[in-house]
């Protein structure tokens, strides 16, 4: 049992959110490094593997990479170097580093605190936190039926293969894939109606009963205190510039 997973899921969600808000408002690089280190410190306690977590962070970095590369060229400031007539600035570079650190610190903390939860637990915790019921149901049903849809897709693909279909760069291929996805959508719609009917037959009235009883324990309060102290410290140092 890893200690992070034994902490109340509601606490984890709220603290991850609070952490994100604090980190977004930080500007000093040393403080951002500390925030990043906090994530690294908690990671072993979450039971997630280093490799998988790194891979997920890199996936996120892929989205912001282009922006990070552009930043040194678009922010005005002191000359750093120039390439093909475009001038890069030191200020731009630091801005890029700052954004990269912020993004990675937040994603790392989200992965360790929230990503280590079962999706069903996440749904229930969000429900307890009074997140819109429709959103929670959407999440729970996605978790339940995404595999069903995947299997349906694979069976259709096999049936296409069995009829000698080989994808190529031509209209026949595009049209066939269009039909395939269209049919999946129609099926998903129909299935959702059947599921709904079956649920109504069992007395569903728009409310999913949640079995898990969540209770805060000593461990939760300790974790909350430590995290709040750390976040408060970061904010204090940022605002009063004590170390920089």
């Amino acid at each position: 049992m890893f200690w992070v997973t034994s902490i109340d899921p509601r606490v984890r969600i709220i603290l991850a959110l609070l952490f994100s808000l604090v980190v977004v408002s930080l500007k000093a690089l040393p403080l951002l490094l500390v925030a990043f280190a906090m994530g690294l410190l908690i990671l072993p306690g979450s039971g997630l593997s280093w490799q998988l977590t790194l891979k997920r962070m890199l996936a996120m970095d892929g989205f912001i990479l282009l922006m990070l590369i552009m930043l040194p060229f678009t922010v005005a400031g002191d000359f750093w170097f120039s390439i093909a007539g475009f001038t890069a600035t030191w200020q731009g570079l630091w801005r890029a580093v700052e954004i990269a650190l912020k993004a990675n610190a937040i994603v790392l903390m989200l992965l360790t605190l929230v990503g280590s939860m079962e999706s069903v637990t996440l749904g229930h915790a969000l429900g307890k936190l009074r997140v819109s019921r429709s959103l929670v149901h959407l999440l729970l049903f996605t978790v339940r039926y995404v595999e069903v849809l995947k299997e349906e897709y694979q069976r259709l693909r096999q049936a296409m293969q069995a009829r000698a279909f080989r994808p190529g760069n031509n209209w026949h291929t595009y049209r066939s894939f269009g039909y395939l996805f269209g049919m999946l959508l129609v099926r998903a719609m129909e299935r959702s109606e059947r599921v709904m009917e079956a649920m109504q037959c069992r007395g569903f009235n728009g409310q999913l009963p949640m079995l898990a009883q969540l209770r805060m324990g000593l461990m939760d309060w300790v974790f909350i205190s430590v995290m709040l102290a750390a976040l408060g410290g970061l904010m204090y140092l940022e605002i009063y510039r004590v170390i920089i």
């Binding site: 069976r155 000698a164 049919m183």
Partner: protein, 225 residues
């Protein structure tokens, strides 16, 4: 020369005990081979292996005189051996019946005009002409099954592989299916639980027992011997 020759096929799904354990099967021209066996015995798996949708862990597949090992060896097999899936919904994915039946012939390189001609002729021949422009997912269960068969027949296969073709068909539609199948010249492999259907269509029966194919001794006197 036999149409299909499967030798010593071993297959298991990941994380499950093996389904097929040294299965042998040979199919000759004109044969209508029935395969039976309890649920989960590996009958559907066997059909999928025959057209290369699943790869056996061990064993050899010779189709139409060619040894098939890689995926590309099966491309021509899939043109010559038509697999009708157990669930017609898996097979019908185009908006209309005509488009779905034309899908196979188009994959075989026919022009759209040729494919449409084939569709019209085939549906006439099967007396299903009234379904041509219907929306596939609104067909009744029986109609879906017949259209799924038509979509495979449109490819003019030399061998038909049918996975539980009578499943959930009413008597009228089953009689229709039997009449259509009896009129076809192709060699067939039929997976079926229904002894009376096997008796009407089949001329040889194998039973899957513990992952092997054994000559079947019918226990019901109406069943095919």
């Amino acid at each position: 020369m036999s149409l299909f020759e499967l030798a010593n096929i071993h297959f298991g799904y990941v994380g499950c005990p093996p389904v097929l354990n040294g299965a042998n099967l040979s199919l000759q021209a004109g044969e209508r081979l029935c395969i039976t066996g309890h649920n989960g015995a590996g009958k559907s798996t066997l059909l999928r292996i025959m057209v290369g949708l699943l790869k056996p862990n061990k064993g050899s597949i010779t189709a139409f005189g060619q040894l098939c090992q890689q995926d590309k060896d099966f491309y021509s097999v899939r043109q010559r051996a038509g697999l009708v899936f157990q669930d017609a919904d898996d097979q019908l994915f185009c908006p209309t019946v005509a488009e779905d039946i034309a899908f196979g012939p188009l994959n075989q390189g026919k022009s759209p005009a040729q494919a449409m001609q084939l569709v019209t002729d085939l549906l006439q021949q099967m007396q299903l002409g009234y379904l041509q422009d219907r929306v596939t997912h609104k067909l009744s269960g029986g109609e879906k099954r017949l259209v799924a068969l038509a979509s495979v027949l449109a490819m003019q296969p030399e061998v038909l592989l049918l996975d539980e073709p009578t499943n959930a068909l009413d008597e009228e539609n089953e009689a229709r299916l039997v009449a259509i199948l009896q009129g076809l010249p192709q060699a067939m492999v039929l997976v079926s639980h229904d002894p009376h259907f096997r008796r009407k269509i089949g001329n040889r029966t194998l039973r899957v027992v513990e992952g092997q194919l054994l000559e079947s001794n019918a226990s019901c006197r109406h069943a095919v011997a």
